[in-house]
Symmetry: D3
Subunit: 136 residues, 6 copies
Amino acid sequence: MIASASRVEHFNAAHRLHNPKWSDEKNAAFFGLCNNKNYHGHNYKLIVKVTGKVDPESGYLIDLKVLKDIIRKEVTDRFDHKNLSVDVPDFDDLNPTAENIAYMAWHRIKKHLNPQFELHITLYETERNFVEYDGR
Amino acid sequence: MIASASRVEHFNAAHRLHNPKWSDEKNAAFFGLCNNKNYHGHNYKLIVKVTGKVDPESGYLIDLKVLKDIIRKEVTDRFDHKNLSVDVPDFDDLNPTAENIAYMAWHRIKKHLNPQFELHITLYETERNFVEYDGR
Amino acid sequence: MIASASRVEHFNAAHRLHNPKWSDEKNAAFFGLCNNKNYHGHNYKLIVKVTGKVDPESGYLIDLKVLKDIIRKEVTDRFDHKNLSVDVPDFDDLNPTAENIAYMAWHRIKKHLNPQFELHITLYETERNFVEYDGR
Amino acid sequence: MIASASRVEHFNAAHRLHNPKWSDEKNAAFFGLCNNKNYHGHNYKLIVKVTGKVDPESGYLIDLKVLKDIIRKEVTDRFDHKNLSVDVPDFDDLNPTAENIAYMAWHRIKKHLNPQFELHITLYETERNFVEYDGR
Amino acid sequence: MIASASRVEHFNAAHRLHNPKWSDEKNAAFFGLCNNKNYHGHNYKLIVKVTGKVDPESGYLIDLKVLKDIIRKEVTDRFDHKNLSVDVPDFDDLNPTAENIAYMAWHRIKKHLNPQFELHITLYETERNFVEYDGR
Amino acid sequence: MIASASRVEHFNAAHRLHNPKWSDEKNAAFFGLCNNKNYHGHNYKLIVKVTGKVDPESGYLIDLKVLKDIIRKEVTDRFDHKNLSVDVPDFDDLNPTAENIAYMAWHRIKKHLNPQFELHITLYETERNFVEYDGR
């Protein structure tokens, strides 16, 4: 029996979208308000979905308390109430777009999972804008 | 890096479900309350998901402001505060079921996207009834 | 012990905002897209709150199944999948704005309640626009 | 034209997570608070997604009123306001984890559908914990 | 400056609605499915609203982290993953209706607050049924 | 006929909670993670409720399109994608707590309304923390 189990977590962070190789004009034109040099912020909603075989003894695919602890240690504790552009080394050389935050969350969580499990990340930046990443 | 980026938009419209090739009795029996000849209506929630390669320079799959503008021009401005059965030529010869509205939204949006991008539409007719279409 | 108990119900309807005493121009200018002569529609969300003494024997203020039946008989069954402007006599001489729909729902429900109970109606026309009415 | 149509339903139930082949100590350590011998409970949210060909005559993939009736007869009427661990024979020899409840719902609903339709179940146990099962 | 500050918390519990002074028949007729002798359960959502003067130095009415700790100690840790009818002494002689749970939460939280603060409790038993209590 | 009409808007901003009259140690101890000197951020949800007489001619308490424009001009355009602690003069001498943001929104909006209307602001800083202010 193959199933998926998902856990929803949240973090609240500041960021600025900016490519240091571009001119200020190009950054402002491309990223618009998101390029504000003094930062803005979001309540991010992160959905972590794990897919694989259900353990017939326990009836669990993965203990969601264990998954919650992995997410908190690897993602929430690092990103919550932080300025992603300043405080978080993951984004020293990477623009903290939702796509790239999802990419970092995927790599941080994947290494703690049974290698036979697939991992899929959904990240809401607002209620109306969200991205997905599954390791491809 | 392959990812998905999604934008949520809304429109509020009236419609009537009806097949002109069927008798009034068959229409009433099959579509029930949705066949009301004076129309009823919904707040539609549309989720537009684009899948493809993330641009490494910007960190964006697609600029969601650009996607928002495409959705508004092609779907929201045409369908919002309209009677789909009367005001919208897309449904002159097509029953405005949720499935068919999703089909029309997919075709209207797809032509504006990079052809290498995949497109997936989710359309909520109510909080408890929704459909999905991805071009197949 | 004084408390409140609330029940949430939904109905989906078409309507047109229009004052027959005004010119077509004034109606179009004032009500904008909501004046579309072919109607548009909404998923309405209705929250019915009753306030009064809790019965110490049952621990209930009011049986919410009973309240649900009152709401369905008086409001949902009359308004759901209808065109409020055409099918519902309540709005023969009353513009079906959210304010007036809430007013009608209040009067329809109030007469079935213990007269010592206060009644408060909240009506969402969209997720971002809603009204309240409490009999004043 | 291939599409998906989904219906959302709810049921409220008690349960206890427990493996009778394990010691009480192992059950308490593994399942934690969910092993409470006096039970606890949840509002379950069930999303039933059917995928297949849309009927060109009606514009429906499946009549969602029909799907609703199948879900209510097979799942909601059996599980709602019940103790899954005591009242529901499906779980006489099966731990009522979310994964196993989704498995049972899938098998109960699948047999009523056109065999060419695919079925996907999503079950929320809380707003932050949910599982998916599609028959694999 | 008078304001309100609110904190939302959740707990998941089993219960049975039952008045031991009534016959089994009367209990079954009055409470319906909620009278199931084997219990059922809910995800309860609790909104705790405190009203009073904002401290001009900090700009806080009350530190919501402090309020969260009070709620967890007094309500969530006692009620979560419990059978309210069996495990929680508050309901030894009190029917665990939503009204009575809100009453107990109010009294448990109120004693920890500045006496000049008003307290208002909202308790959702399901997404469609909720109660409010403010100490009257 | 007295009613209320409400409009929901959103803005996304960075901020830092800090009292310049306190020591760094006191600020860190009192405001915790919210005192991060590099800022963090939120998706704020603002609910603006206006209460007063419904105009019998139009059936509107207030045109919610007009209210939306007032909110956007006075609040959203000033606060959205900004760092409240750096970019917004309202908070030059005022700690940008949710209570104080609600206070500023109230004063900015009130002056545009019919003086006979009452105004009530609800501001969600996260899904679980929110404040209310009504001018007292």
